[in-house]
């Protein structure tokens, strides 16, 4: 049994910021536990930038940032939390700048800012098209500076609490295969997103499997707004790999098979820089109505054309995008347009928290994509996710560090470790009549079909039934690799089981929300319905194992809901 004051699960931007914050307080024993080494986490794949009303390029204010965010969220975001985030944004950007983060600069030496979707002004600070990468590296560097302890390549299995307070968690050390109980006065979950559920077409890393929300669900901790899944408009044709919104921010065009900039029909004012939900629906509509392209493999797509930006700008501002397009599509954006289609990208929903990252269990926090404050509501604006993770990572880290002082550890029953050992043993002894890769494909198909970009009752119901069927069939999975050392077969099976659990909540939320709002577009309820659904869905698993959905009010301060036009 290991013992810490605070354990942070996940080493992306949220986890590392929380760790830095706790390291400021001397004498606390803190560890960051992650299934990958720090800097491998998916924060590093964020390309385009991070929003803050610095006003370096055009006059701006946190209030305007907050308004854009709330409007982008289709008014589902909690406005007190949004205000807090936007207020803190300029300071936290400068804090990271002072840590050495290599932001791109204006000729006068200030931090450069570029236009992004759904924003009224160029507000997105960036480092070429590798903003998340340099942010993650910088935070890791500072964690080394302040002596943060890391448990690398440990996979969290379960949360342990006494119904009121957190007692710790169980995890498997992937290198040794040992299952360990870890006692802690506070646990901060920063495990990232879960859109790997849409396995066959997503921008996410292979490990974005909803481990945090799944553990929370099993521990009786509620999830919020799970029906909202963001499809990023520009994923590469074959792989769904991300092409940053910065490409459109720098002036890229979306072009259909008729050679037309079709966004003029959907967002005549903002054009390509409308919010992501709207642009993704526009692209899918073009494809459905026969104005898309199709390749010999049957992939359907439209073009993202950057050629008019010119070689110099592409090399300077979008070097990584150019390389990705060359390596993965065989297309050089300087010479040819990039074939793209929307790709499952971001989970607005997550573990239900307040604006300090606190959950219903005292001492248990969730930050970043695995949590839901909510600052993104029904649709997140580009450039707000990097901001979300650092702001709420910092706040939760601070809050946890303060809260554990003078606190005693909660009793951690040994049986919790035994239970996990039993669970894993049962996977080794599985029947093996079902196959992991097959079930994963079926889950992906069911989710894309039923709770993808466009949804309706019949399709969602079918998806929900299918997910429940897969959940049953998953009991017959078998882990064939019986080694203790680095058993990736065990890991991928555990990840899949986590995805299935989370998938069910997405479908259930989608079924119950009988309106269209942000990324949740129901063809049978095409309008937003503030009277009945201006509220958060909250799903929790009862003692009987069944999911229960309730509703929770949205916090509205300054911005009254209005029609969302771009």
């Amino acid at each position: 049994m290991l013992t810490y004051d605070i354990v942070i699960v996940g080493a992306g931007g949220g986890g590392l910021y929380a760790a830095l914050e706790t390291s400021r307080r001397k004498g606390l024993k803190v560890a960051v536990l992650s299934k990958v080494y720090p800097t491998r986490s998916h924060t590093g794949a964020a390309q385009g930038g991070i929003n803050a009303a610095l006003g370096n390029v055009a006059p701006d204010s946190p209030e305007k940032h907050a308004y854009d965010t709330v409007k982008g969220s289709d008014f589902l975001a909690d406005q007190d939390a949004v205000e807090l985030m936007c207020e803190m944004a300029p300071k936290i950007i400068r804090e990271m700048e002072h840590m050495g983060l290599p932001f791109s600069r204006l000729p006068d030496g200030r931090i450069a800012q570029r236009p992004f979707g759904g924003a009224s002004f160029p507000r997105t600070c960036y480092a070429a098209d590798k903003t998340g990468h340099v942010m993650l590296q910088t935070l890791y560097e500072q964690c080394i500076r302040f002596g943060v302890e890391f448990l690398n390549e440990w996979f969290a299995l379960s949360l342990v609490h006494n119904g009121e307070r957190i007692a710790g968690l169980t995890a498997v050390n992937l290198r040794t295969g040992e299952i360990v109980g870890i006692r802690a006065k506070a646990v901060i979950l920063a495990t990232g997103g879960h859109t790997r559920i849409y396995w066959k077409r997503t921008s996410n890393a292979l490990g974005n499997t909803g481990d945090g929300p799944a553990m929370a669900l099993r521990a009786g901790v509620p999830l919020k707004d799970m029906e909202f899944v963001q499809f990023h408009p520009t994923g590469l044709r074959r792989t769904g790999i991300l092409v940053t919104e910065g490409a459109r921010g720098e002036g890229g065009y979306l072009i259909n098979a008729e050679g037309e900039r079709f966004m003029k029909r959907y967002a005549p004012e903002k054009m390509e820089l409308a919010p992501r939900d709207l642009v993704s629906r526009a692209i899918e509509t073009e494809i459905m109505e026969g104005r898309g392209f199709e390749d010999e493999e049957g992939n359907k797509f439209v073009y993202l054309d950057l050629r008019h930006l010119g070689r110099k700008k592409i090399l300077e501002r979008l070097p990584q995008i150019r390389e990705l397009a060359i390596d993965f599509e065989g297309v050089d954006p300087i010479e040819e347009p990039i074939p793209i289609r929307p790709t499952a990208h971001y989970s607005m929903g997550g573990i239900d928290t307040d604006k300090y990252g606190r959950t219903v269990i005292k001492g248990l926090y969730a930050v970043g994509e695995c949590g839901c404050v909510s600052v993104h509501g029904a649709n997140r604006l580009g450039g707000n996710s990097l901001l979300d993770i650092v702001v709420f990572g910092k706040i939760a880290g601070e809050d946890a560090a303060e809260s554990v002082v003078g606190l005693e550890l909660v009793d951690f029953p040994e049986v919790e470790v035994k239970e996990q050992e039993e669970r894993i043993k049962s996977l080794f002894d599985g029947e093996g009549s079902e196959k992991l890769s097959q079930l994963r494909r079926e889950l992906s198909d069911a989710m894309s079909e039923g709770v993808g970009i466009f949804r309706d009752e019949e399709r969602i119901k079918r998806a929900l039934e299918k997910v429940r069927e897969i959940k049953e069939r998953a009991k017959k999975l078998k882990v064939y690799d019986r080694e203790l050392t680095f058993n990736t077969n065990l890991q991928q099976t555990l990840e899949f089981l986590n995805m299935v659990e989370v998938a069910e909540t997405i479908a259930l939320g989608a079924l119950e929300r009988k309106e269209s709002r942000g990324a949740h577009a129901r063809t049978d309820y095409p309008k937003r319905d503030d009277e009945n659904f201006l509220k958060h869905s909250v799903i929790r698993r009862g003692e009987d194992g069944e999911l229960r959905l309730t509703w929770k009010p949205v916090v509205i301060t300054k911005f009254q809901p209005e029609e969302r036009k771009y």
């Binding site: 990958v36 080494y37 800097t39 491998r40 998916h42 590093g44 610095l54 300029p90 300071k91 936290i92 400068r94 804090e95 700048e97 002072h98 840590m99 050495g100 290599p102 932001f103 791109s104 600069r105 204006l106 000729p107 006068d108 030496g109 200030r110 480092a127 590798k130 990468h133 590296q137 910088t138 560097e141 500072q142 080394i144 500076r145 290198r175 890393a205 292979l206 490990g207 074959r238 792989t239 790999i241 010999e296 493999e297 990584q320 390389e323 990705l324 390596d327 993965f328 065989g330 992991l436 890769s437 882990v479 064939y480 690799d481 080694e483 050392t485 680095f486 058993n487 990736t488 077969n489």
Partner: protein, 321 residues
Amino acid sequence: MEKKEVVFRIKRFNPKRDSEPYYQEYRITVPKGMTILEALHVIKDEIDPTLAFRSFCRSAICGSCAVKVNGFPKLACKTQVFSELDKFGTDTLTLEPLDNMEVIRDLIVDWDKPLKKMEEMKPYLIPDPSVVPSTLDEETRVYPEELKKYDRFTDCILCTSCFSACTAAQMDEGYGGPFQLARVYRFAVDKRDALKEERAKIGYAYDMWNCVRCEKCADVCPKHVGPVDGIMRLRGLSIKVGLKDNPGARHVFAFYKSILESGLLNEVLLPLRAKGIKGVLENLPVGIKMILKGKAHSPIMRPIAEHENLVKVMKAAMEVE
């Protein structure tokens, strides 16, 4: 669509179970466009769930999946199977774990050694209070040309490909390593940093002069960072901060002096100038052999034609630097 039957010959080893590594062959059908990483997943999903390798982002930014493909470190996720087959004119690709690190299992190596080394070398900005504002109401002014000095070196994704290929790391346990030293340089030229050029002393302590400039690190870097360039510049900085009295620095000065004198490299005087009498003694056996074979030149060398112009070019180049 074009498809090929491909044999993947994969080096396997579980130190807890196997007495030594062995190769296992997997034959799969690969469509055009498939990456090495996708092929590895096909093998794991459809043939052998026990095969162990790391992968995460699959878009060349997380640095998890570097392996050796026919002997060369590559990110599996951004390497096309077909292009490797074409390059080697084969239908068999050999996949092995990276070098210079212990194998944990199959293609998974232990990153702790190179990362620990980096951690010791202060790989973080220590803000200079005379440059970095003391309040969060202000950002440091960094001009685009100042950013350019280190921008490229921030592209490193810690995939350890360069460490795997590094000749010096292989020979010298005390050597800092290519990505590690490049990161030292990155901070040494960041005006926000409190240590600045003094960081070159860290490079010195971590044997940066042992880099043999084979440039393999630059060849294998999937992000085109070119660690060796950082190491060379860090050496320059070390001389600037006064670390002149060591074989490495003297070697550079000997080169410089020799070219300045004649435009030619005076190899006979080089050991003496770089390492003194010790250097002469060390090189004596080789020297005698060279003299006997008629390969040694006279210690007095006549300047080349156009020598004056060469000196002008050198001076101009130094001004630019």
